[in-house]
């Protein structure tokens, strides 16, 4: 027999006190009686249940019209209510169904993870691809112009029409492969030593001087430009914006955070991780295809990426860090590109045969009107090999300083080392003796007040008057110096040989001598300058910049 009378409380909605009450269940509805008599009679259909959905929670029923309420603090009341009321009381909560909550919650959580994951991996990129093309080109150009103003303000641009035409010609060749495109491609060179190139929306490509000067041929720069143009053509920036916003919204929806501040930041990171890498891969592959379509040898693009990779070796980085970086790993990129290039038909001719690339890439220098204004040197600089030294070493230095700084150095014929100059106990060349040797082998120039002699030797060296174990360089007076290459090669201390690093170190050491003796620049504590001093070791040397 179902119990039909239950003790509870009545809230009249007028005073904040609860009145002890007796609740009577009838087939049609319920009645509430308090000390003051019958207070309410409601049909089940007129009642809503607002509390009592959880174990131990008081059951609270309110008339739809609102204001009053009746409270019965017993779970069993609900069961009795549903039994007595039958069909009319079906809309009240069934405690027997509570167990469903557990599985439902787990299922919901899994579904959320699944949906969110699917959205991140497929839906958002698909939406971005669909929406991005609908952004009007004029908008993109406007934004691109703003980006250009920011990255390449007019006073920092290198403008040299004769050489600039070469770059324009490369762009035109590439653009000819996509004649239907609404974009007008323009290349701007920024006078900044960064080795980088960026594509802004709307067709502007910014190339930094550092990158330009590192390219060895027109094909190499074409490879970089093709990659950047693909960013523009595929509207990667617009896509990235859509992806970023969508991911932010997704996260905000999941966490219930309407202001979305944190969500947006996390979205930016997540977006860069996945979508940024996708875009880079796409730009690589499509860029290479563009090169082939334009009749440009893709080997240049690959060679240049190899050069860049050497500059930042990532062989040591473990696989996990690989994933966390915003660009696909250098090695992985190169392999992909090599694979694509192998399948392509190699064109016969060179790109821009009429131009001398070593001249074109000095665009910024030329724009400044030859040598940089600040570099005003005294005297003539001679590089004098002492002892056995590969001739390319010195040749490359001369080319480098000429290209980079407009400095004209001369090479003297090599001179053998004097065995007396080498300390038998230490097996090292005495720096003071080396300078004296320089004077003996080239007496006329050593006596010429306008001549600056920088000796370069492959022998390990030490300075007698100093207490150090070895020395990279030594100077006497303001015209004579000697530099030792022995300790600059990583192979000399048991590390894998690294020609790029060796060259960079040698360039810096010799540049510093040139700076001190020829340009008469002071030593500085700034790390960005090649005039940094004191240079206490290889770490300092590697940290230093290459600019004056």
């Amino acid at each position: 027999m179902t119990r039909t009378t239950w003790p509870g409380f009545y809230l009249d909605g007028r005073q904040a006190e609860r009145q002890a009450a007796e609740v009577r269940l009838t087939p049609d509805g319920l009645e509430v009686l308090t000390q003051r008599g019958l207070r309410a009679r409601w049909a089940y259909g007129d009642l809503r249940q607002t509390q009592g959905f959880y174990p131990g929670e008081q059951v609270r029923l309110e008339p739809r019209a609102g204001g009053e309420a009746v409270v019965v603090p017993a779970d069993a009341f609900l069961i009795a209510l549903r039994q007595v009321g039958g069909a009319r009381a079906r809309h009240f909560h069934d405690p027997g169904r509570r167990w469903l909550r557990g599985p439902a919650a787990v299922a919901a959580a899994l579904a959320v993870l699944g949906l969110a994951g699917a959205a991140y991996v497929w839906v958002i990129p698909a939406a971005a691809s669909a929406l991005a093309p609908r952004v009007p080109v004029a908008w993109e150009e406007r934004v691109g112009q703003g980006v250009l103003e920011y990255l390449a303000p007019s006073e920092e641009r290198c403008e040299d029409p004769p050489r600039g035409r070469a770059l324009d010609a490369i762009v035109a060749t590439l653009a000819a492969t996509v004649p239907e495109t609404p974009y007008r491609f323009r290349v701007v060179v920024v006078d900044d030593p960064a080795v980088n190139a960026l594509a802004g929306p709307g067709g502007y490509v910014v190339v930094y001087r550092g990158l330009l000067e590192r390219t060895e041929s027109a094909e190499e720069l074409a490879g970089v430009l093709a990659h950047e143009l693909q960013h523009v053509l595929r509207r990667h920036v617009a896509r990235a914006v859509v992806q970023h916003t969508s991911t932010g919204l997704l996260l905000a929806g999941l966490t219930g955070d309407a202001s979305g501040g944190v969500a947006l930041e996390v979205a930016r990171v997540l977006g860069q991780l996945r979508y940024g890498r996708q875009h880079e891969r796409e730009a690589d592959a499509e860029g290479l295809r563009m090169l082939v379509a334009a009749g440009i040898d893709p080997a240049g693009m690959i060679r240049f990426f190899e050069t860049l990779n050497e500059a930042e070796p990532d062989d040591q980085a473990p696989a996990l860090l690989d994933y966390l970086s915003t660009h696909p790993a250098g090695r992985e990129r190169l392999e992909t590109l090599r694979g694509l290039a192998a399948a392509a038909v190699r064109p016969a001719g060179k790109l821009l045969p009429a131009y001398d690339w070593t001249d074109v890439r000095r665009l910024c220098l030329a724009a400044r009107g030859g040598a940089p204004v600040a570099l005003d040197g005294r005297g003539r600089v001679y590089l004098a090999p002492l002892g056995p030294l590969p001739p390319e070493t010195v040749e490359r230095l001369v080319t480098y300083y000429s290209d980079r700084f407009g400095l004209q150095l001369e090479t003297l014929p090599g001179a053998p080392l004097d065995p007396d100059a080498i300390d038998p106990g230490r097996g090292q060349l005495a720096a003071e003796e080396a300078i004296a040797l320089l004077g003996r082998r080239h007496p006329t120039l050593a006596a010429d007040p306008e001549a600056i002699l920088i000796g370069i030797t492959a022998h390990d060296m030490y300075i007698r008057s100093a207490g150090w174990r070895f020395a990279f360089a030594y100077r006497i007076g303001d015209r004579l110096a000697v530099v030792s290459t022995a300790r600059l090669d990583p192979a000399s201390y048991g590390a894998p040989p690294d020609p790029g690093l060796f060259e960079a170190r040698l360039r810096k050491m010799v540049a510093k001598q040139i700076g001190l003796l020829h340009l008469r620049l002071p030593e500085t504590r700034e790390w960005g300058s090649v005039m940094h001093g004191p240079v206490r070791g290889l770490d300092d040397l590697d940290e230093m910049g290459e600019d004056f």
Binding site: P7, F9, L11, D12, G13, R14, Q15, A16, E17, R18, T50, Q51, F53, Y54, P55, G56, E57, Q58, R60, G67, E68, A69, V71, P73, R98, R101, G102, A104, A105, V106, A108, A109, A111, V112, L115, A116, A119, R142, Q145, G146, E149, L249, L250, G253, L254, T255, G256, A258, S259, G261
Partner: protein, 340 residues
């Protein structure tokens, strides 16, 4: 799924005692809040909320919020009766929409340069945008959200309400912000207390107002200690500061014949937050519902209401309130937390 962790509801009538002069015979003289909810239940609710939000591309978010609030309030009990939440998803959605439209103005001003890089008065526009947000929208949001929230909460079928005029608060906020700036921050304790006084003293339960009698000069030492000891303790003193501040504010808040009392200490607060942080880190954020329950239990454990509530004398006096303030508060990011 949850186990009731408080005393059974019917057996808790206090024995007839001496009572104070205003207490009716058998009336309780010490009240506390109990939270019967569990993190597991809350997790279930939020999982379903998240799913609904994803499937409806965001719309369900508002109904989900209501589900969450309804649960939390229905699991909170005072003197044998639970609180109730009366808001609806539709109200929250329309509030959000109105707030978003409203915010478009300062937001647009702040981002003029992104839309039109050639616009000349960009900096002035941006400053105007920020000023609007700070001096107008934040106080608007605080008052609006409080008014809406309180109006949708009831206890024993009597609604709360907030009757502070927005204009007064905007003026208070602006004036005190400037004074704080001019005094290099020294005025801030007064600002904080006056803000709190406004928000508390214009809050009502039915016909009964809350009262606040705190003063800036009394709480000044608490802030001063923070400024001095904070850097010395690498910021750890923050917890003791929060505790001292809470204790002071609650001790000066009263309603009817009863006064609040907080027993929060810096050490307990630190332990609570540390535990929460570890839980969240260890579960990559999934444990958030459990930390919310921990926070509620902690707050209730350390809060008492001493004296006679005189519930019989309090009558219904509900006031209308729109949800746009709530929407604004959500977008601008001003929180609404119990006891903070």
């Amino acid at each position: 799924m949850s186990v009731a962790s408080g005393p059974p509801q019917e057996a808790r009538r206090p024995p007839p005692g001496p009572g104070g002069p205003a207490a009716a015979p058998g009336e309780r003289l010490s009240h506390r809040l109990y939270f019967y909810g569990s993190g597991t239940d809350l997790f279930g609710i939020q999982a379903v909320n998240a799913l609904g939000t994803l499937l409806t591309l965001g719309f369900f978010h508002f109904w989900g919020k209501v589900r969450g609030l309804r649960y939390v309030l229905s699991q909170t009990e005072l003197d044998g009766d639970r609180f109730a939440y009366h808001g609806t998803g539709r109200e929250l959605l329309s509030g959000f929409a109105k707030a978003a439209l409203l915010l478009a103005v300062p937001f647009g001003l702040m981002n003029v340069r992104n839309v039109d890089p050639t616009f000349g008065l960009q900096i002035e526009a941006a400053i105007l945008g920020y000023a609007l947000i700070y001096f107008l929208f934040v106080p608007l949001a605080v008052v609006g959200a409080r008014r809406y929230r309180l109006s949708r909460i009831s206890w024993r079928a009597i609604r709360f309400s907030f009757r502070g005029p927005v204009r007064s608060f905007v003026r208070l906020f602006a004036r005190d912000s400037i004074l704080t700036l001019l005094s290099a921050g020294l005025y801030y304790p007064w600002f904080a207390v006056r803000r709190h006084a406004f928000l508390v003293s214009h809050s009502y339960f039915g016909t009964e107002p809350f009262r606040f009698d705190g003063r800036g000069q009394e709480i000044f030492p608490v802030y001063a200690r923070l400024v001095l000891l904070g850097p010395l303790t690498v910021g750890l003193y923050w917890f003791w500061f929060q505790a001292a501040r809470q204790r002071y504010l609650w001790a000066h808040t009263a309603i009817a014949g009863a006064r609040f009392e907080s027993a929060v200490t810096g050490g307990r607060l630190l332990r609570l937050r540390l535990g929460n942080a570890l839980l969240l880190l260890g579960t990559l954020g999934l444990a958030w519902p459990w930390t919310r329950v921990r926070n509620l239990r902690f707050a209730f454990l350390n809060l008492r209401l001493r004296g006679a509530l005189e519930a019989a004398a309090i009558s219904q006096d509900a006031r209308a309130a729109a949800a746009s303030g709530e929407g604004l508060a959500g977008l601008v990011g001003t929180g609404f937390e119990l006891g903070a």
